[in-house]
């Protein structure tokens, strides 16, 4: 039988398949190279980058909850200069698109990052205005349509790279923030970031996370993510990278049907270092079994 077409277009960038390693779960890729050929992945989103190196939050930074994970890493990263000098050249050796997740305390910082990246060989910028684990920036911008519009508009004016805005589920109506980002000129959306959560150790009467609260991810949030991808797909025309608890090929197909063009794999990378290619193989199997020749025939193909 004819090979199925898995290629998708995300904001003008052609990905060989829709699998995208999600930010914060994949480092800069190097930890995974001994487990799989990372060139098989459609795109890699590097760990969240800031202008200056960031220390991150005190440990413990992770807690397991039923079918989920709470994390409070707090954007520990070596800063944009180190990333460009040391990590990017290594990553560029692989045949995969590179998405850089940017984070700032202020709109100016977001803009500076976008401006710096403009002259470097990266494929897409992901504007992270939805990190729940930092005091400034992050959620402060992502929760309200007016601030989403403001920061997206400003960043877009500072770069020619395609811009994806990463949305938070910690908002009253994600369709409103999605529309605001699109009106401000973003090229695509990724959703959802983690849900703000908490876990308590009753023996110590303390929160498990040193940061008290953290971001919930994994299968526990999949139904919410799926619903939000579907809702947003109804009101915008830009491509959506869907994420939230995608652990296998079935989950990937569900997100495609709900309207996602890209399949973000996050928490699964923490459980299985081969998760991205395992999910890709399962997705291919599904297409062969169901005689689907082009993956684009699945996107938004939900029957209501």
């Amino acid at each position: 039988m004819k090979m199925s077409n898995l290629a998708v277009d995300i904001c003008g960038v052609k990905l060989k398949n829709p699998i995208i390693a999600a930010s914060g779960t994949f480092g800069f890729g190097e930890a995974f190279t001994s487990y799989m050929d990372i060139s098989r992945i459609g795109a890699i989103t590097v760990t969240g980058i800031t202008l200056e190196p960031r220390l991150g939050n005190p440990p413990p930074r992770i807690a397991e909850t039923p079918s989920g994970i709470l994390n409070s890493v707090g954007l520990q990263n070596p800063g944009i200069n180190y990333f460009l000098d040391a990590e990017l050249p290594e990553l560029r050796k692989y045949d995969t698109a590179i998405i850089v997740n940017i984070n700032g305390n202020t709109i100016d910082e977001y803009c500076s990052l976008a401006r710096i990246l403009d002259s470097h060989p990266i494929d897409l910028i992901e504007l992270n205005i939805s990190c729940p684990n930092v005091k400034e920036g992050g959620l402060a911008f992502g929760a309200h349509p007016d601030t989403v519009y403001e920061v997206t508009k400003a960043v877009k004016a500072n770069t020619k790279k395609p811009l994806i805005v990463k949305l938070t589920p910690n908002t009253s109506d994600i369709r409103e923030t999605a529309k605001a980002a699109v009106e401000a000129g973003c090229d695509g959306l990724s959703l959802i970031n983690t849900l703000l959560g908490m876990a308590i150790d009753i023996k110590k009467r303390r929160p498990i996370l040193a940061n008290i609260t953290g971001g919930l991810s994994g299968p526990a949030i999949k139904p919410i993510a799926l619903r939000m991808v579907w809702e947003v797909a109804q009101v915008v025309d830009v491509p959506i990278v869907g994420m939230g608890g995608i652990m296998d090929g079935t989950d990937a197909v569900e997100f495609l049907l709900a309207g996602a063009t890209g399949i973000g794999v996050g928490t699964a990378n923490l459980v299985d270092p081969t998760a991205c290619v395992d999910i890709l193989d399962e997705l291919k199997d599904y297409m062969i079994e169901n005689k689907i020749e082009d993956i684009r025939d699945l996107i938004g193909a939900l029957r209501i």
Partner: protein, 266 residues
């Protein structure tokens, strides 16, 4: 690739109060070093999402078997304790930076507390030609495990229990501090609760004895990608967070800053 990680359980049984010993048939046996860990995916229950990092207790190279000795502290380890020979486990490893002994080192002090004794066991078999003095602290007589092994493989052994039901009454750090100047080890290797490690760290520091400590932290991927298992490592101006999974779990004691709030729960 997935299948190559599947390993068969040979045996799994209780060795002390809440402590279990599991033997796993695995091709990683000959690559494993003391202080490294394996990252275990729990079978049968998808809601227990994360792998469990458990230190390598011992290795049988002839049989190709890796042993883990683990304490039951929650749902994950409880499930692990219920598995039987013939069950299979999805395992990553050996992971992390283990202990190391330079060629000039002849005398080694091993200091372990509670379930922190488990990662120290393989040291004695891996570097057979060193002279070991073991300092082992347990909660009580029923918590003691593998004492015979340490007695057999070390030249000298000190034992404490918190309640005095076996050995000396008290904590092992007190005995270690009392004896260390007589023993005069060239190297200390320690694992146990953070307050214990803090004391070992200062005892080693005061006497300028090289010291390696094995740390524990709540872990995610185990391969250095997710940045959740961090510990403070001294820098010229302050500290930075290093990864327990790949920079450790064994660190030089004078490079890390141990915080009291860092948990040790096995």
């Amino acid at each position: 690739m997935k299948n190559s990680r599947m390993c068969k359980i040979i045996s799994n049984h209780s060795i002390a109060d809440n402590m279990y010993l599991m033997a796993i048939e695995s091709s990683i046996a000959d690559r494993a070093r003391p202080g490294q860990f394996i990252h275990i995916k729990l079978p049968y229950d998808d809601s227990l999402l994360l792998r469990r990092p458990i230190s390598i207790n011992n290795v049988d190279l002839d049989k190709g078997v890796v042993y883990i000795a683990y304490q039951v502290v929650g749902k994950g380890t409880e499930l692990l304790s219920s598995l039987e020979s013939g069950d299979h486990l999805d395992i990553l490893g050996p992971l992390g930076n283990g202990f190391s002994i330079s060629s000039y080192v002849e005398t080694v002090a091993i200091v372990g507390g509670g379930c922190g004794i488990a990662p120290l066991r393989y040291i004695l078999d891996y570097w057979k030609d060193r002279s070991y003095t073991a300092f082992l602290g347990y909660r009580d007589g029923n918590s003691i495990y593998q004492l015979d092994d340490f007695e057999k493989e070390s030249d000298n052994l000190y034992l404490t229990t918190d309640d005095g039901s076996k050995g000396e009454k008290g904590v092992i750090t007190k005995v270690f501090e009392r004896e260390v100047d007589m023993v005069r080890p060239q190297l200390i290797m320690a694992c146990g609760p953070t307050p214990m490690l803090k004391q070992i760290q200062s005892i080693a520091n005061e006497r300028n004895i090289a010291c390696q400590i094995s740390l524990e932290e709540r872990m995610g991927c185990g391969i250095g990608a997710c940045m959740v298992c961090s510990c403070k490592v001294k820098m010229k101006d302050g500290f930075e967070y290093k990864k327990v999974c790949t920079d450790g779990p064994v660190f030089l004691s004078d490079e890390v800053i141990l915080d009291e709030n860092v948990q040790f729960s096995c």
